[in-house]
């Protein structure tokens, strides 16, 4: 177990250094620091993957720390980040990715002392499908939210013709932010739908009913509706730019509420709290 702890400390150190480097590199406009940050984040990610693999060993799906849940979330976020970075060549994503990964990873430690048994129902293939797809789409929405905030910031500057600072000049063009939104919506919505459907099917198998009016389920349905609207408008009506950026930010906000707010404040069978 101590080797795992050591690994965790190493991962945190790498993510912290990555965050510091990206912040300093951005403010001081040093490309070398930004590149260093990327390497640190990649190194952290490799250890992170290793750690997840190790802690999976000898455990079944039933007994999982909740910390694992968050570690997995930060892991999938980084996976998406690297994918988008590789596909779209957008360096600025590192700006959101390493700090967010750090926050998730550290918050997983705050939860680590409470070890809970997942209900026996939460097992098997559907667990992987349900959790995996939702995590991936949540990660995509995190990206879209970051890109959306930057889009709104730049859009305002360009519309109001305010002076562009050196930081603004280093940001990518507006169209790049919109491409991230496009990718997140086009890939994220089908994944989210898959996650929802697998959840309902699983609920039908496990509890005999599709919808149990659990708060988490309701919030998730709201998210799905918002997501569906965005998906449709983008695809059919050709929405772009500001509107899609704003919607992505809202969807992300509701997602965060459903992930943290609902799980900790309300009683739900999705809860982390021991039942």
């Amino acid at each position: 177990m101590s080797s795992l702890e050591l690994l965790s400390i190493a991962i945190i150190m790498l993510y912290v250094l990555g965050t510091v480097c990206i912040a300093v590199g951005l403010l001081a406009r040093r490309d070398r620091l930004k590149r260093l940050s990327h390497w640190l984040t990649v190194a952290g990610f490799v250890l992170h993957t290793l750690m997840l693999g190790l802690s999976m060993q000898g455990q079944t799906w039933q007994i999982l720390e909740k910390a694992y849940y968050f570690r997995m979330l930060s892991w999938s976020l980084l996976l998406i980040y690297f994918f988008v970075w590789w596909r779209l060549r957008l360096e600025f994503l590192g700006l959101t990715a390493s700090p967010v990964a750090l926050v998730f990873y550290v918050s997983s430690f705050m939860l680590a002392d409470v070890q809970s048994k997942l209900p026996p129902a939460m097992s098997g293939l559907f667990f992987g499908l349900h959790i995996g797809t939702l995590f991936l789409s949540f990660s995509l929405m995190t990206m879209a939210c970051g890109a959306g905030l930057l889009f709104l910031y730049m859009d305002r500057k360009l519309k109001h013709k305010t002076r562009l600072s050196g930081f603004d000049r280093d940001l990518p063009a507006l169209s790049a932010f919109d491409r991230v939104n496009h990718l997140a919506v086009m890939a994220g919505f089908p994944l989210f739908t898959l996650g929802m459907v697998s959840g309902f099917v699983w609920a039908r198998i496990a509890w005999g009913k599709v919808l149990s009016w659990d708060p988490k389920e309701i919030v998730s349905l709201v998210v799905w509706c918002m997501f569906a609207v965005l998906f449709h408008q983008r695809l059919a009506l050709g929405w772009r730019g500001r509107k899609t950026a704003v919607m992505a930010i809202w969807i992300f906000a509701v997602c965060v509420f459903s992930l943290l707010g609902v799980n900790f404040l309300m009683t739900t069978h999705h809860s982390f709290n021991p039942q």
Partner: protein, 469 residues
């Protein structure tokens, strides 16, 4: 070093040697001069009359190196002529001016009123400002550095540079690079057409998949179109009231001419629209653009309205995914950029000041006595460091041993340095070679603590200029 400029130059002047009372002091009178004129001191006519770009004398060097002038580099562009010379005696500027005027078949008197003469550290400072484009008409424009490098290359080809100018020019290049990386003096657009292109890049990024449309023609619109083409835009369409003129322009930009009546239909194909018609009423209205956007599936559009009165309804800017800049907005951007450049120029000047100071320090040390002192001090420092390390390792020793060790190191320092120092002294009496060996010694032992990058010489080609980086 495969080729040594000095070998080609007249090496020694025996007559001088005999008559000069204190031979080893000769080089100390050597002074850097910078004689020149620029766009502030001379009008275009004068600059044309005295330009040194295309005259035949330039091949042999306008100012021959010889008795009192030992090194010369000449820079001549459309905005300036700068002659850097190293020589001794107060007559150097006069001689340079004589040669300069003679090269263009003019009188010295016609030239003198437009010329400035800088000496010593002022000359260094001026050259550094020129190289970093602080003295340019458009502060921060990048061409001047390339022109200076060419000028230096030519001078090296003529074997007209030696220790002082070699180092001075290399320092000037590195100062220019420092200014470029440490200040934002050249990072923003200062012309209206270029500012428009920069904004387009902020919206679209990579330009290769976008199309632009010119509505109406005008100098500024054409300039903007040229900039757009240079930054890789896919196509330029031209819509002009007189179709023939449109065709002509389209041909110039290898684009397509569009009938003016078809404007509202074809507008949806264009991502960047530059409008400069003489119309009194707006020709593009917000409600037209709404339809256009629908047809384009809301792909962003960037309107640049450089017409007065304006061609495009200002309400267009309120639509999503549409950005409209009119001539005043662009002027404001340019003015802000100018102001920013001025601020940054102050920062750049302090860099120039600092580096000029360093250079002056080096120039002063290019003498026999300081070099010997530096050489000995370096060896002594190494010896003392090693002694301290050794004493730490072998533990406490008695005073006698310590003194013996000290004495031994002292003797080594003296004996190791004895031969180089006598060699330097001997060479220094031959005035020509003096500074060169001093310079080599300083570089060989890195007495000026320069950081030399490992790949300092990797970009060398044949034949090579003498390099001190």
């Amino acid at each position: 070093m495969t080729r040594n400029p000095e070998q080609a130059a007249p090496a020694t002047h025996p007559a001088d040697h005999k008559t000069h009372p204190a031979k080893h002091r000769v080089h100390m009178d050597q002074e850097i001069y910078l004689i020149g004129l620029n766009h502030r001191t001379a009008s275009v006519e004068v600059r044309e009359r005295f330009a040194l770009t295309d005259c035949t004398v330039l091949e042999q060097g306008v100012v021959p190196t010889g008795d009192d002038i030992s090194e010369v580099v000449i820079l001549s562009t459309c905005n300036r002529v700068e002659i850097m010379a190293v020589g001794n005696g107060p007559g150097v500027p006069q001689r340079v001016l004589d040669c300069w005027a003679a090269a263009r078949g003019q009188q010295r008197g016609d030239l003198e009123p437009f010329v400035y003469v800088h000496k010593g550290i002022d000359a260094v400072r001026h050259l550094f400002s020129v190289a970093s484009s602080l003295d340019s008409m458009v502060v921060g424009e990048p061409q001047i550095l390339g022109q200076l490098k060419d000028a230096y290359r030519k001078a090296v080809g003529r074997s007209a540079t030696r220790v002082v100018l070699n180092r001075l020019l290399h320092k000037a290049f590195s100062v220019a690079k420092r200014v470029r990386t440490e200040t934002a003096v050249a990072s923003s657009a200062v012309s209206i057409s270029y500012a428009a292109v920069e904004l387009a890049k902020r919206i679209f990024g990579e330009m290769s998949q976008y199309k632009a449309m010119l509505i109406g023609a005008g100098e500024m619109a054409e300039l903007a179109a040229t900039h757009l083409l240079n930054s890789g835009i896919r196509e330029i369409m031209v819509a002009n009231r007189t179709f023939e003129r449109g065709l002509q322009l389209a041909k110039q930009f290898k684009g397509e001419a569009v009938l003016f009546q078809d404007l509202s239909v074809r507008l949806s194909e264009a991502d960047i629209i530059i409008s400069s018609t003489g119309a009194h009423e707006p020709i593009i209205r917000a409600r037209d653009i709404k339809d256009v956007l629908k047809r384009r599936k809301n792909r962003p559009m960037f309107f640049i309205d450089i017409a007065v009165p304006r061609d495009i309804d200002p309400d267009v800017n309120n639509l999503d995914n549409v950005y409209l800049y009119d001539i005043d907005d662009l002027k404001e951007v340019v003015e802000e950029n100018m102001a920013q450049r001025r601020d940054e120029a102050a920062k750049a000047r302090s860099i120039v000041e600092e580096e000029a100071g360093n250079f002056a320090k080096w120039l002063k040390s290019l003498d026999l006595q300081p070099t010997i002192v530096d050489l000995l001090r370096r060896s002594e420092r190494i010896a003392q460091d090693e002694l301290a390390r050794t004493l730490k390792r072998i533990g406490p020793v008695d005073d006698a041993t310590r003194e013996a060790l000290q004495a031994m190191l002292c003797a080594i320092v003296k004996k190791v340095n004895h031969e180089p120092i006598t060699f330097l002294k001997r060479r220094f009496d031959e005035e020509e070679a003096g500074t060169r060996y001093i310079d080599i010694t300083r570089r060989m032992f890195n007495l000026d603590c320069d950081d030399v990058p490992e790949d300092a010489h990797s970009d060398r080609k044949h034949p090579q200029p003498r390099d001190d980086a």
